[in-house]
């Protein structure tokens, strides 16, 4: 393998990164949406000047008359999507998570969720997957969006799940917020995996005393860490919470009851996201167990390469492994 040129610096947002040892799939969101668009003529696609960087261009190329770029106007993106939906369209819209959540929150809440608008928001670059610093890192998006009633929130693990989610949301009534994955997206889950709305699923059954509850691509990292830990004699299992809202309280409790200690892992601050949801569920169920939070601090984060940022802020593979092996 050639020397990677991308380490040690902030990368361009359009740059496609090969991840060592991973099978990847290019633009699973856009290619699946383009396919689905052939089956469902009521689907329209929108972006706010982030077509290239949200992977929706395959849809544009396949269905040019049903694609709209509203420019750098996220409020307009959401309002137009809501209006399109009120005339029978299923509006898939894209930009970065930060701009959907921080810029257009009121519009997602009122024009979409409150209005039960058939709008499917594929929010690119969620969490710490972008080296452009805090302006481009949606590290509190789950916290914000879970506060909106009548909004479905999905945080897919990999390309396999994302492709299924693209199709599934077309039949989920109302507004859906998906933490989308772009570029060369790793394939982590087996072909047999089936996304089920509102159902957490065990994606690594290793038994043991350590239960990992995770969401988004941190579920893939959790599986990697669990496999490495098993080689060192520590068994663990991974529950992937693909749907953040509605939250699978019963599934999480049933899983947590099986283990002596728990790890919650998310590509998000440890406040207001999955960790908070898990702790709320456990407390309500009267379950008190040691629990390690793997996630981001309540802070704004700097620019840099993905590897640098993940290591610095404690969401990389060694951090996961330490939580399993050492319990801290």
């Amino acid at each position: 393998m050639a020397e990677p040129l991308h380490t040690g610096r902030t990368r361009g947002m359009g740059e496609l990164i090969d991840i060592a040892g991973k099978t990847t799939e290019l633009a699973p969101f856009g290619t699946t949406l383009a396919e689905l668009g052939r089956e469902r003529p009521e689907i329209v696609g929108l972006t706010a000047d982030m077509g290239r960087y949200s992977d929706i261009l395959p849809f544009r190329d396949a269905h040019p008359t049903r694609f709209f770029n509203v420019g750098m106007a996220e409020q307009d993106l959401i309002m137009i999507a809501a209006g399109l939906s009120k005339v029978g369209k299923i509006a898939y819209c894209t930009t970065y998570s930060v701009f959907i959540t921080r810029r257009a929150y009121d519009f997602v809440a009122i024009s979409c969720a409150h209005s039960k608008a058939n709008v499917k928001i594929f929010a690119g670059m969620p969490g710490l997957v972008n080296g452009y610093g805090a302006t481009h890192q949606a590290t509190e998006d789950l916290n914000m969006m879970r506060g909106i009633a009548d909004l479905t929130i999905i945080d897919p693990c990999d390309a396999t799940e994302l492709k299924q989610v693209v199709r599934a949301v077309a039949d989920i009534p109302g507004t859906v917020y998906v933490r989308s994955l772009r570029g060369k997206v790793p394939v982590e889950l087996p072909d047999s995996y089936r996304f089920q709305l509102g159902k957490a699923q065990v994606i690594h059954e290793g038994g043991g005393k350590v239960g990992i509850i995770s969401t988004g691509y941190m579920s893939a990292r959790a599986m990697d860490a669990a496999r490495l830990a098993a080689e060192q004699g520590i068994a663990s299992s991974v529950l992937h919470v693909g749907t953040i809202k509605p939250f699978d309280t019963a599934g999480v409790i049933a899983f947590a009851q099986r283990f002596d200690r728990l790890i919650v892992a998310e590509n998000h601050k440890t406040t207001g996201g999955l960790n908070t949801l898990v702790v709320e569920a456990l407390y309500d169920a009267g379950i008190m167990k040691p629990l390690i939070k793997v996630g981001l601090a309540d802070s704004f984060f700097e620019c840099g390469s993905q590897e640098y940022l993940e290591a610095k802020y404690g969401v990389d593979l060694p951090r996961m492994l330490r939580a399993i092996l050492e319990g801290n």
Binding site: V44, T65, R66, F68, V70, G71, A73, Q75, D76, I78, M79, I80, A81, A82, G83, L84, S85, K86, V87, G88, K89, A91, D106, F107, I110, S111, H114, S115
Partner: protein, 280 residues
């Protein structure tokens, strides 16, 4: 299927003025005894609503979901009193239900929700209407439907950046089936319109819209402006309405704090008499 006003024939101005008077009577009846509310805005927009619902708009009150209906999008949700009055006048709502306006548990709350027959959007958070109307207009064009979208919003909403995002969007997507009805009544929550928004018509023209400016309380001017907004020429249409809050009831026109006007219980009969004498 009974559909109204398509294509609009010549306007019956006395009949439209009688409709507007009825709307004002209804609004005073709805507001009576409630002490305060958005009656001033309602009285100000009544002529426009009469012109829309009884001359220009294509709809079927018995089938609010009719796919080929024109859409009337009320962005100023707090104009609910006027919206319910016209929806009752048009046959969407029962008149007997109207006095429940604003009361606890009523399905006619002080701000509009889209579960009310004939209401196309959740109002209340200002700056949401025009963008949704643009989306509706785009979808109707995409489907090749003849329907048009009429979107009312206010001069106060011109202070919301989202309105200007939508203004650009409408021109970009060539929404010539969209008619903006911009209620410039000169007031907002804290008093007179506080931010420099003029010249409104010039701004919309500069943004690529076909724009006219009329006295929004002059029925003949309204009807003419609406007729001029039918052209399919690739450009969205804007009608800047100069309206007087409280129009038709001089005591309310003169009252301070017109945005959320206070009215003593003892005053309503006199206000109703004023309305009748003004129109008499």
């Amino acid at each position: 299927m009974t559909t109204l006003n398509h294509p609009p024939g010549s306007a019956d101005l006395p009949a439209l003025k009688a409709r507007a008077l009825n709307l004002r009577r209804t609004m005073l009846h709805m507001a009576s005894g409630k002490g305060e509310g958005y009656i001033a805005q309602g009285l100000g927009i009544a002529d426009c609503l009469a012109a829309i619902y009884f001359h220009e708009l294509r709809y079927d009150a018995a089938n609010p979901a009719w796919a080929d209906r024109d859409r009337f999008v009320l962005s100023t949700g707090h104009y609910a009193i006027a919206m319910y009055a016209v929806l009752a006048e048009a046959g969407y709502l029962e008149a007997a239900e109207l006095p429940s306006y604003g009361l606890n548990g009523s399905r006619l709350p002080m701000s509009t929700f889209d579960d009310i027959p004939g209401v196309e959007m959740v109002g209340g958070s200002l700056g949401h209407g025009l963008g949704q109307a643009v989306g509706m207009a785009m979808a109707l064009k995409l489907d090749g439907r003849p329907s048009r979208v009429f979107c009312e919003f206010s001069d106060g909403e011109l202070q919301e950046g989202s309105t200007w995002e939508a203004t650009m969007g409408a021109a970009t997507f060539k929404c010539d089936n969209l008619v903006a009805l911009i209620d410039c009544n000169g007031i907002q929550a804290d008093g007179p319109v506080t931010v420099q928004i003029e010249p409104v018509a010039d701004k919309f023209t500069a943004f690529g819209w076909d724009t006219v400016e009329v006295n929004g309380n002059d029925m003949a001017a309204l009807v003419d402006a609406l007729a001029g907004a039918r052209e399919k020429n690739g450009r969205p249409k804007a009608i800047v309405l100069r309206t007087t809050p409280g129009h038709g009831v001089p005591t309310l026109v003169a009252r301070d704090r017109a945005h959320f006007v206070r009215v003593d219980n003892s005053e309503w009969d006199a206000l109703k008499a004023e309305l009748e004498s003004t129109h008499g």
